[in-house]
Amino acid sequence: MLPQAAEPPWAFGDAGGADPVGAFEHRFRAAGGEVVRLTGEAVARGWLDDFAGEFETVSVCTGVPDALQPALPPAPPSQAALGVSLAVGAAAQTGSLLLSSREGRQPQLLPPVHLIWVRAREVRPTLGGALQAHRENLPAVLALHSGPSKSADIGQILVTGVHGPGRVIAAILGADA
Amino acid sequence: MRVSFFVTCLGDRFFAEAAADAVRLLRSLDVDVDFPRNQTCCGQPAWNAGHVPQAREMAAHTAAVFADADYLVLPSGSCTAMLRRTYPRLLESPAVADRSYELAEFLVDVLGVTELGRGLEGRRLAYHHGCHALRELGVAEQPMRLLESAGADVVPWEMDQECCGFGGLFSVKNPEVSVAMADRKLDTLPHVETVVSADGGCLLQLEGRARRRRMRLRFRSLASVLWEARRGNE
């Protein structure tokens, strides 16, 4: 007998139902990610100019609006210092950002630093809920990024940035700072 | 209240005095104890090793020996688990299954004992939870309660629930791994002089290894320690 699909919320403890953005931030940070909350595009623009200052080149996914693209010279993903993408969803329960391959994968994977924009209203409480929104319209890969790349395979010591980006920033738009 | 005592093969041969203590303990709680003379072995070694026909033979023998018992009390978690959990798979409706109890379990769950006495006041000891008692019978609280209410300081031991490595024939079929497991237990013991367990196999294993390593430790059956808890009153 196949039981009902959606996991009962109580089975997974508090899935951040009351404050998904807060819960997302907590989990993303716990996994080693950075989070910045920006109330709107104007504030975001200011923060972005500041943030981009430390990088020389950028590779941007196609879905990122112009206003959210750093004013940096573009480079191929394999050479860019910074990759920028726009999440198509997020889940507070697991601290995950959903990324679509429709906007290009390589900028999300090859640069050592990855900036991911996400709209506050897209942060769902549960992973199931976040995935459900994409069921009918799956890209070639729907990816979950929940922190920087890491491994403890070398003598059980944690290192970051093993293959994927070692530094990942979730910039949440439309969140109370 | 009358119980039938199943001493178990290891108990009979290697832990006779401890088994006698179990009898003394039960009697001191106004329990009549009888000892059906034809008892032998519960059959666990055969079952564990996959020899089902032999296990069934011994189970049938044991079930017959104790057919008239109201309660069976055993100074062994693993043998109790064999009767309760495995006999129903070997025999048709074995009455003994539901009537079998490990000693501490019997005292707490059936007799309702909460405190035996204060005979263990100031005694520091570590308690090894045998796997069968712990996982097949769900017996863990009961020995703890009896020991602590008697004044014992049961010292926290991180690995107290980890298998000692006996596993019946496993101990001689894979002796190197078995000994390594015993070493893990012994190396992580807190600072105590006495280690207590309700299982004869575990005690043989841990004590056997400890003595080979010349470690200064005493190993005692739970039955004896509980009798001491009670006797302290007198």
């Binding site: 995935l131 799956l138 790349s149 003598g155 293959h163 | 041969r13 791994v177």
Partner: protein, 462 residues
């Protein structure tokens, strides 16, 4: 490598390379602690009950779900291949390699690919294969098989890695873990970019949407399945999940059980090829999914042990197993080790071929406590043990001893007499008796010279 040598290999590991026991014990203890923390506030019983039901359902309707998965994948333009044996898998790869002139492969960790010995086969075709999971890369350099389902190199220390990296990558002898990781990253990055083919396994295959799900922490799976122009996924047929809505729970449960994380750092959910056929800027233009049997339908048809196929490869049973942690996985001589290995190996490969694995357990039952899909491993071990005896695979010595034991144990007087006699046998003789000799190699024999309980009872217990 053969499982038959379990005892000898275990002994060698314990006696000659004690650092392996230390490394494996430390690593598994960490996993156990993290798993416990991850489940602390959760209703583990409800979760494992749910997961068990879903997996059991899918396994009992496997054919239907596999067909559904295939149909969805084909709709999206993926190539679906069915492989009954390892040899079939090889042939499929050979066709792809020849057709596309593949010279270099980047590989994500896949236990199934180890099962079917894919790497040696590819190499025999002249293809260069790079394991990209850091742990797999380390053991690839060392020429060793994986020793744990999730952490293939947990038996290796930092120093071991320093040595091999110094030799092969030229890093300093005292390189920090970060430096070593950077060296691997640099070298493998080039391989991702220049490889012709990326190979992955599959953690799950969602039937409803025909989607492969891959879980990882490093990013090597994302890269292996995104940069090369062809992606081949080898997926065991038992990996199917029925519905899209089941995926989120299984992703989380697997991550929590394996490492205590809420979810792996990266998850790739792949329903089809990418690149221009999909109207996307990049990604592999060809996706091949190889659905592999390799003994699974035989195991599934076995009414007493099919439950082992619910396994989600979290490794939790390995981590909790007090037997596994004394040696690590190499003692088992099979790609799957520890408790799950001991019950799955006889089913996939055959009992005779994988003895004595079902006996490489002290029966403690800890594994059953942690399995997120409630595989009754201790029961399954017993089934295989019984079958080993029934098929005459136990030693004659053991059979004799137990038969003798049983015949004595059903004759009370004889039993009592034997106990007394045993008490009279001197220690130096006991130490030399076949089974008891193995006791005495590491332990003192218990004193058996006192009175038996029977004697005490007869004398009257005061």
């Amino acid at each position: 490598m053969s499982s038959h040598d379990y005892r000898a290999r275990a002994r060698r590991i314990i006696e000659e390379t004690p650092e392996v026991r230390e490394a494996v014990t430390a690593a598994t203890r960490t996993f156990v602690d993290h798993r416990r923390d991850a489940y602390a506030d959760l209703d583990e019983i409800a979760l494992s009950g749910w997961a068990e039901q879903v997996k059991s359902h899918v396994l009992t309707h496997l054919g239907d779900y596999l067909e559904e998965a295939e149909a969805r994948l084909v709709e999206r333009g993926a190539h679906v291949h069915w492989a009954e044996t390892a040899s079939d898998v090889h042939q499929i790869f050979e066709r792809i390699v020849r057709e596309h002139g593949v010279q270099k492969v980047v590989k994500a960790k896949s236990m199934l690919s180890e099962e079917v010995a894919l790497n040696p086969f590819l190499e025999s075709l002249g293809v260069e294969v790079f394991e990209t999971d850091l742990g797999e890369y380390i053991i690839q350099l060392l020429g060793e098989p994986p020793s744990h389902i999730v952490g293939p190199s947990i038996h290796k220390s930092l120093d071991d890695t320093r040595v091999i990296f110094h030799e092969r990558l030229g890093t300093p002898r005292d390189a920090s873990p970060e430096r070593l990781a950077q060296a691997a990253r640099g070298l493998l990055r080039d391989q991702f970019i220049t490889a012709d083919l990326g190979v992955s396994g599959g953690n799950f295959l969602v039937a409803e949407t025909g989607s492969i799900a891959l879980i990882e922490n490093e990013g090597n799976i994302r890269l292996s399945t995104s940069v090369p122009r062809i992606h081949v996924a080898v997926v065991g047929i038992e990996k199917v999940l029925p519905r899209w809505a089941d995926l989120s729970t299984f992703l989380q449960v697997t991550a929590k059980s394996a490492t205590g994380q809420p979810v792996g750092c990266f998850v790739s959910i792949i329903p089809g090829p990418g690149g221009s056929p999909a109207g996307e800027p990049d990604g592999p233009e060809e996706l091949h999914v190889v659905l592999v049997d390799a003994g699974r339908t035989r195991l599934l048809a076995d009414p007493k042990v099919w439950e082992a196929l619910r396994c989600v490869r979290c490794g939790a049973c390995l981590n909790i197993c007090p037997v596994y942690r004394q040696t690590g996985g190499h003692a088992y001589g099979y790609v799957y080790s520890g408790p799950i290995g001991a019950v799955v190996a006889p089913g996939l490969v055959g009992l005779e071929e994988t003895l004595p694995l079902p006996f490489a357990s002290s029966d403690c039952g800890a594994c059953a406590d942690v399995c997120p899909v409630r595989i009754p491993i201790p029961e399954l071990l017993h089934v295989w043990r019984q079958r080993a005896v029934e098929r005459g695979l136990s030693s004659s010595e053991e059979r004799s001893v137990l038969s003798l034991w049983a015949s004595f144990a059903t004759r009370a007087r004889l039993f009592g007499w034997a106990e007394n006699v045993a008490g009279l046998v001197p220690q130096w003789v006991i130490r030399r008796l076949p089974m008891l000799r193995d006791w005495s190699s590491g332990r003192e024999a218990p004193p058996a010279d006192g009175r038996t309980f029977r004697e005490l009872w007869d004398k009257g217990i005061k």
